[in-house]
Symmetry: C3
Subunit: 466 residues, 3 copies
């Protein structure tokens, strides 16, 4: 049986190169904060406790964490060793044979398999640590080994001799400690420099010097990279995107250009769905089989039904039915429900509006706070005047109604089933089922007016130019 | 003189990892099905006959094939050897010295030069086969050679010994056989496994064992890759895109970002045209010199004239004249003809509509089933009310007409040359040349109304809050 | 002290493979011409004089050059040696110990450090030249060295022996000469071929043969690449984009996908700004901290205020205030000023229009030549009818006004403060402060009309089908 696991996530890094006030681990990639990615990976080993050590912004970080994860404020920040000590102080009920996994909150690319590898520390190992061999070790701590190949310590770059600088095996900061050994050794770490900082790497040296077993495991360098700049954040986002998209494609999703398809973690896309280039699927979004999305479309918290077609559009908080059509150039805002085979066409915006099966709003309309009946047709230029400057009111349009072009529906107002409104009408009164409602004046014609005006204009211009 | 060539395209693969019902070879990349790409490559050697062997969906596949290409249903599917036998049975009039080229329908990246290389089989070669040397041969059949370097057979991965697994020269499944040798050997292929499948690779072994000449030719591994997943399909699309775009750039087309420019095979773009990022050119589309398209624009079956500018728009089945301007945010639907120096501007949709030279529809309009005369100006918000709920009707606007903003043109209706309509008018009757037509009521003003209403509202709110 | 530096930029190449009439060095990448990029790099060494030698299109090139840079027409074009001679003839006041830097106008990727390296020529060096070692030297002149490793000349590919072709150190065409040595040697260059062309590379041979010191310096092959095709132009644009974006990210700008973010040289983006995929920032554009731009947005000569949000929009010559919202699907044209916390929403176009603080135009509007007061609300479908077919006129809307949906504001017209217009009104007369203005007829209802029409239609269709 596996021993209980405790996880310490170090998240005190300031992220100076990000040049923002946001705590570094709260920057987002592919729809999640960096720390969320780390916590999701470590959660797969079912830790008894998980503690995130933050240096500043503890409240902001705490507000984003899932239940069961604690935050511990490290103040002042006296190094990684000090941070782990602070975390250990909050981990009550820890037994000497338990495992303490230490990892970094700014390393969103870590995968469950690597965490499992750490969790697989055998009872005899005082520490199992992840190291990687890289072509350019600049900036990282180097792993020191004795003649027999056993790890004897880690030397930080600034303290390394020329020979040590040439070493290419680097420390990743990922460890699984035997709790008893960690607690004992960390108490013996001394301030490493004038600022009084204590480094966790010293624990490795102390354990090795004390004859304890220090083992290493390998990893993909990509997986253990930390984020310290926007450049690195963009690279991490790109890796996450590749992973998410590879998963979706393996599950049967077609992508025209996976490198240009931006799908948040957690979005569901069924086999047979088709995503064109420039698609963004965010938040709690789901796309059903045979739906076609894009090019150049954003869906946030939307549900796209089977066989629906949504392109060159922005969809937020909306539900799009089977075989419905949306776009090009539509904006669906929260509370929109587009029925089966219904259509929200070109230059149409909807908000808190339901279109029943087969209803169509093909062009240049604004439908807000409206209910549109089955098979109703909304003429181009129709607007629900839902706002009177003080309140919003609802418009109800019956099944099979035909709203003429440029109809203003001054809410609250109800248009009956099968009713028709004349083009250009302002409808302020309810319209009965099957009735025609028109608001219009007679058309007047002034023969020759335009020609006379043009002639006058020509004379004026001639006068002005003389 | 070259001997007659017969081509057998193996297309029975189920494409299980695609997770769709569509026959695998009917998936599309860069505007063509996979099998179309293969057939186009093999057509360059002018085969006497081409037979596509399909395992299921024969009718669906047959429906997409060009004239002169036959489909042969392999049912049940008993291996590649069995598939070739089925194909040979349909190839009447085949002479022993003819060449039979065998290739795969899911390998869209094959280029004519490779097919020519196969077609160049010399009379003494019983089979010329394409092999490639790869770093990771996993999953592929390995080429077995004797001490003298002659091919003696192909071993499938599952049957390979550890030594054979270490071989890195793999079989691509591309062959040119001497017909007589193929026919004789294939009759001797035995069921390779419990399922009773016959493998074409056995023919190689039989020919070699019989002292026939087996030669190999090399190829770019990219070119011979088969498509078995959406991931591989996306990669193939990317390679095809690079090839198409490299051709266009060599021909003088400027591309801001070739990796983000999606041009179907067969689209014509003239030297001097400029394509910005996010452009999709599909189907029977042509773009003339000095035209500028994009960013973020789709043209399907459209013709863009010399010097025209089309951006942030969707164009389908439309013709855009020289130096015309379209967009940003326009949707041109089938039957649209935009004349020389005409303009279809922002938030304008057209369908079955002709704008003559110099006509302008700059903003927020829907023009359907309309003819717009030379130099006519369509005010913002103009809508052709072409649909009465039953039929579509035409609108005719004369040369030099000036349609006021928000004019509803209730079709069928004709606006004369140089005629003017007043803003906000619903025009139901024809308007004479040079006339002014207005449909409008007098403007009424209620002084202080808004202020009194606001005051009342403030009182109500105060009441409610007490 | 550094000796005076004179720069000769060779820009006579025809760029045949570009297949356009535009002089090659006037093609653009990342917002600048190729020659501009070169001139910017060389300007960092503060040359006394800079001369650009062009072969054709001298006037077109000259028109784009910054002050202090001269153009010299080489006609006929008799080789690079001849071009440098032509340039020297225009460089009066040149002293023998001065440095003459020669570089190419089609090499936009050169960086200041490389130019500085050339400018660092020591007095004893007759020429310091840039060479690079490449895997595939095809097409380039090879550097010839003697047994001691000293450069003795450059051999063009077509004149090279098989042994020389195998050399991988190539000439980049970048040199810093001691002026006196250059002038003397170039006079001794002889026509290299039947066309009477003189090659600058001969100068190297002459100097070496004369016992002068010829030194070389290394460079990144990417940096010294010339542009001869659209493919190479696209690659150069991609490199420039990476450089610009790396700079911005280092300065604290977030980018969702740097490979899809198109920022011209010279655009300013503050730390904390967020750029989504598909953003184009062009010309004199500035984006303030915490602003969010994109996806799929173009800003040309625009200023985006702190905390503003602009997405799926096109912005040209506009100023967007702090915390303002623009889009999705808005087009802001020149002269637009969007105030603090103001909104230009979906399917809204503006031109020469100011929206004061908190004013909102959320949907489907065209605002041209308008002034919108603080907190005013513009209803959906509102249009400023600013053009009467002859002139443009202004619309003034007062603070707190409420413009009803589909209001036509026939300019010149003024809507008072807090005034209200009724939906669907055509407003031709000014409206007082606090007043309500309506232009409307009574609504008429014809009960059963629609049902009777449908019944009639059914009868007709039945008749037709019999």
């Amino acid at each position: 049986m596996q021993v209980p696991i405790h996880v310490v996530v170090l998240a005190a890094g300031k992220g100076t190169r990000m040049r923002t006030d946001l705590p570094k681990v709260l920057h987002r990639a592919a729809g999640r904060t960096l720390i969320d990615w780390v916590l999701e990976a470590v959660s797969t080993v079912e830790p008894a406790r998980t503690v995130v050590v933050v240096g500043h912004g503890a409240e902001a970080v705490a507000a984003t964490l899932p239940p069961g994860v604690d935050v511990c404020l490290q103040e002042p920040q006296l190094g990684t060793g000090h941070a782990v000590q602070a975390a250990l102080a909050t981990l009550d009920g820890i037994a000497p044979d338990d495992t303490v996994i230490v990892c970094y909150g700014d390393g969103p690319l870590i995968l469950p398999a690597l965490v499992s590898g750490l969790a697989g520390r055998s009872p005899g190992e005082a520490v199992r640590m992840v190291t990687v061999d890289v072509a350019d070790p600049g900036g990282y701590g180097r792993i020191l080994r004795d003649g027999a190949g056993s790890v004897v310590g880690v030397v930080e770059e600034r303290d390394a001799s020329p020979d040590q600088l040439a070493l290419t095996e680097i420390n990743t900061g990922l460890y699984a400690f035997r709790a008893g050994d960690l607690i004992e050794a960390i108490g013996r770490v001394e301030a490493a420099n004038a600022q009084g900082e204590h480094y966790l790497t010293d624990v490795v040296r102390i354990l090795a010097a004390g004859g304890k077993t220090v083992t290493t495991m390998d990893a993909d360098p990509v997986e253990v990279a930390g984020i310290n700049s926007h450049d690195q954040l963009a690279s991490a986002e790109s890796v996450l995107r590749q992973r998410i998209n590879a998963c979706l494609m393996e599950a049967g999703v077609w992508m025209q250009d996976p490198g240009r398809t931006y799908v948040d973690a957690g979005v569901e896309v069924e086999a047979g769905a088709r995503l064109y280039a420039g698609v963004h699927l965010e938040g709690a979004t789901a796309v059903a089989a045979d739906a076609e999305v894009g090019p150049d479309t954003l869906v946030r918290d939307g549900r796209i039904g089977r066989g629906a077609h949504v392109w060159y559009s922005v969809v937020r908080g909306a539900e799009i039915g089977e075989e419905a059509e949306v776009g090009p150039f539509a904006s669906l805002r929260p509370g929109t429900v587009v029925g089966r085979r219904a259509k929200v066409g070109t230059f149409v915006e909807t908000k808190a509006t339901t279109l029943a099966e087969g209803a169509k709003a093909p062009h240049l309309s604004y439908l807000g706070d409206a209910t549109v009946g089955r098979g109703a047709n909304i003429g181009a230029g129709t607007i629900t005047c839902n706002y009177d400057g003080y309140d919003k009111h609802r418009t109800v349009i019956g099944d099979g109604a035909f709203i003429g072009s440029d109809t203003m529906l001054v809410a609250p107002v109800t248009i009956g089933e099968r009713a028709v409104t004349g083009a250009g009408s302002v409808i302020t009164e309810d319209v009965e089922d099957g009735a025609l409602a028109v608001e219009r004046s007679p058309q007047n014609q002034v023969p020759g007016y335009a020609d006379r005006r043009a002639a006058r204009r020509r004379v004026e211009e001639a006068d002005q130019s003389t």
